[in-house]
């Protein structure tokens, strides 16, 4: 099985600046993420913090400005065929099941295409069997009727199951789920997340779960990476990040999951001072200030992503 290792990812967008000059927008700034098989890593952060940009770089919908992505330490080339090979191992579930399925095509068509493209099936009988297997693995029944339908004839939850089935069709080893439940009704969110979790255990998938929601991030993932304005501000084992957030922004996020009965959770910008293991690269602690140079990393000894990153930072400084 496969470990996805993304190191020092960076993405600059050229946007319209003032006057004639184009400005650069650093959507993602030096983010490293490692996802191991059978593990879920949650990527949380506010809107516009660059989460989707990372997801798109990881499935090569967007070219990274710099940084490397390796699968089991192997770099995979950029050509058409290499990208196809890469995508047969890394797949993605999109945020909005109402727009990620083509309204003009049947479910059968949309599930069959990846099976054929990636050479999973070689005959009609095999194809039928594989389709039914996929439908069963995402708990969609009756399979035959749903396969014949168009997306608008399905509910949001059913559509997202179809989208998950489509992502599973090439038999990937890494699954990137970009806010897979944020467009769904509250009552079915946990079902879908539970399905993703079961699939992860069944197929030993490495899952990157992108979300706004700290509660599900904590429940379904072993690690949490918190992003803000394109940078990682805090990362570590889920329980530690949620129960003892060090970065004021993380404290803010945790507090924002509201509970009217509990005492207000006080954001303490100096809490990091009591944690010598936290690397703080700037002294500016104002949470409200829009200063993009704020960059804190909570590093944990067992976090390979951080260690690799720190090691390379150190080597860059000495050389």
């Amino acid at each position: 099985m496969t470990t996805l290792e993304a190191l020092h990812l960076r993405k600059d967008y050229r946007v319209r600046g003032s006057g004639w000059r184009a400005a650069r927008l650093q959507a993602v700034d030096d983010v490293s993420i490692i996802v191991r098989p059978g593990e879920t890593v949650a990527l949380v952060g506010e809107s516009g913090s660059g989460k989707s940009t990372i997801a798109k770089m990881l499935v090569r919908l967007v070219d990274a400005t710099s940084g490397t992505v390796t699968l089991d330490g192997e770099t995979i080339g950029q050509g058409r065929r290499a990208t196809k090979r890469y995508r047969s191992r890394v797949q993605m579930v999109f945020q909005d099941p109402f727009s990620s399925l083509n309204p003009a095509l049947t479910i059968r068509h949309q599930l069959t295409r990846p099976l054929r493209i990636h050479g999973i099936v070689h005959s009609a009988a095999e194809e039928e069997r594989e389709l039914l297997r996929l439908m069963e693995s995402v708990n969609l029944s009756p399979a035959k009727t749903i396969l014949a339908k168009y997306p608008h004839e399905l509910s949001g939850g059913q559509r997202q199951r179809v989208a998950i089935a489509r992502a599973l069709a090439p038999r990937p080893e890494v699954l990137i789920a970009d806010e897979p439940v944020s467009m769904l009704d509250v009552s079915i969110r946990l079902e879908i997340l539970q399905l993703l979790n079961d699939l992860k255990l069944e197929r030993n998938l490495a899952v990157l779960y992108i979300t706004h929601d700290l509660a599900t991030a904590r429940h379904f993932s072993s690690q949490i990476v918190v992003m803000r304005s394109g940078r990682v501000v805090e990362r570590g084992p889920s329980d530690a990040v949620i129960l003892n957030p060090v970065h004021p922004y993380t404290q803010f996020l945790v507090r924002a999951a509201p509970d009217p009965k509990s005492a207000p959770w006080i954001v303490d910008p100096n809490r990091h001072l009591g944690h010598p293991e936290v690397v703080v690269s700037t002294e500016n602690l104002e949470l409200t200030e829009e200063n993009t140079s704020v960059h804190w990393v909570r590093s944990w000894d067992d976090d390979a992503a951080v260690n690799t990153m720190l090691a390379s930072l150190a080597s860059a400084q000495t050389s």
Binding site: N102, D185, E191, A215
Partner: protein
């Protein structure tokens, strides 16, 4: 999604409920055509049938007889012209000509705007810039004067030639509309999903994007046909139409030349004028209803009304 502090600590999985959101009816209503659409289609079908049967119903519309400028009678249902041609026969023959012009020009407009609008937007980069430039240039060229110059210039003034010329000067607007829509469809998630599935560029264009452009392409066809029929009527009226004119516009031209209005020969100019107006309105209705399907802001009323009706049942 909000969680209580307790849930934040341990989300309760047993609470999730069965999926009930299947019953959203909003989208189904949209798929049904409105009355505008069917009225428009019916009128267009009628004209199409007349146009197709034209050569049988009116084999020689220019045949003259001795009694000119007669009011409608049983023998000549729509009267005769000043040189004794039967107006009804002429109008039927004119229908054939006008409909051919509409269909040919509409089709050519669609082809051109697909090449320069859809193609440019889909390929992006240099292609997009070049085709945008071209369509912008054609957009700012004043249509009617160019039309007059070109029709004056070309040697053979066949009905087909005129249709081609009309669509050459008027495709740019359609190309702009299609370009905008292609850009919008191209950025939808399902196109990204197809790319993640490693679909080839051609398949993405033909299977993922094009079907979702169909309504707007249809509406551009209708719009192009409407514009061409009107433009041809205008050209013929100015005497620049196909000689031996077999279109509604050329009937109007001859009526004007013979001073039909001052002679009070209403049966000569009212029928072709009415035909132009009715077919134009029918095409407009089709276009409106397609617009309603595409444009959610126009759609709201149409969605609300059937719902209210349903509640009353």
């Amino acid at each position: 999604m909000t969680f209580s502090q307790q849930e934040l600590a341990e989300p309760d999985l047993s609470k999730s409920e069965p999926d009930l959101s299947d019953e959203t009816g909003g989208r189904r209503i949209v798929r049904r055509g409105s009355w505008k659409f069917w009225v428009g289609i019916a009128i267009c079908a009628l004209f199409a049938i007349i146009a197709a049967l034209g050569p049988l119903l009116a084999p020689n519309p220019n045949q003259t007889n001795s009694d000119g400028l007669q009011a409608p009678s049983l023998q000549h249902l729509l009267g005769t012209t000043n040189i004794g041609q039967d107006v009804l026969t002429q109008v039927i023959a004119g229908t054939t000509g006008s409909v051919i012009i509409g269909v040919v020009a509409g089709a050519l407009t669609v082809v051109l705007s697909m090449i320069f609008g859809v193609g440019g937007a889909f390929l992006g980069g240099k292609w997009d810039e070049a085709s945008s430039l071209l369509s912008n240039v054609f957009l700012v060229i004043p249509g009617l004067p160019l039309l007059i110059i070109v029709t004056d210039y070309v040697q053979s003034r066949d009905i087909l030639v005129i249709a081609v010329v009309i669509s050459l000067v008027s495709w740019a607007g359609a190309a702009r509309v299609l370009r905008a829509q292609t850009l919008s469809v191209r950025s939808r998630d399902y196109v990204d999903a197809a790319r993640v599935a490693s679909e080839s560029t051609w398949r993405i264009m033909l299977r993922e994007i094009l079907p979702n452009l169909m309504p707007i392409i249809a509406s551009q066809f209708v719009f192009g046909a409407l514009g061409a029929i009107l433009a041809e009527a205008g050209l013929s009226f100015l005497g620049l139409g196909a000689p031996g004119g077999r279109s509604w516009g050329s009937i109007l031209f001859f009526a004007q030349n013979a001073q039909a209005i001052s002679l009070g020969a209403w049966w000569w100019f009212v029928p072709p004028g009415l035909c132009i107006a009715v077919l134009g309105a029918a095409l407009g209705l089709i276009n409106f209803s397609i617009d309603e399907q595409i444009n959610p802001r126009l759609r709201t009323l149409a969605v609300l009304r059937p719902k209210a009706k349903r509640g009353g049942k």
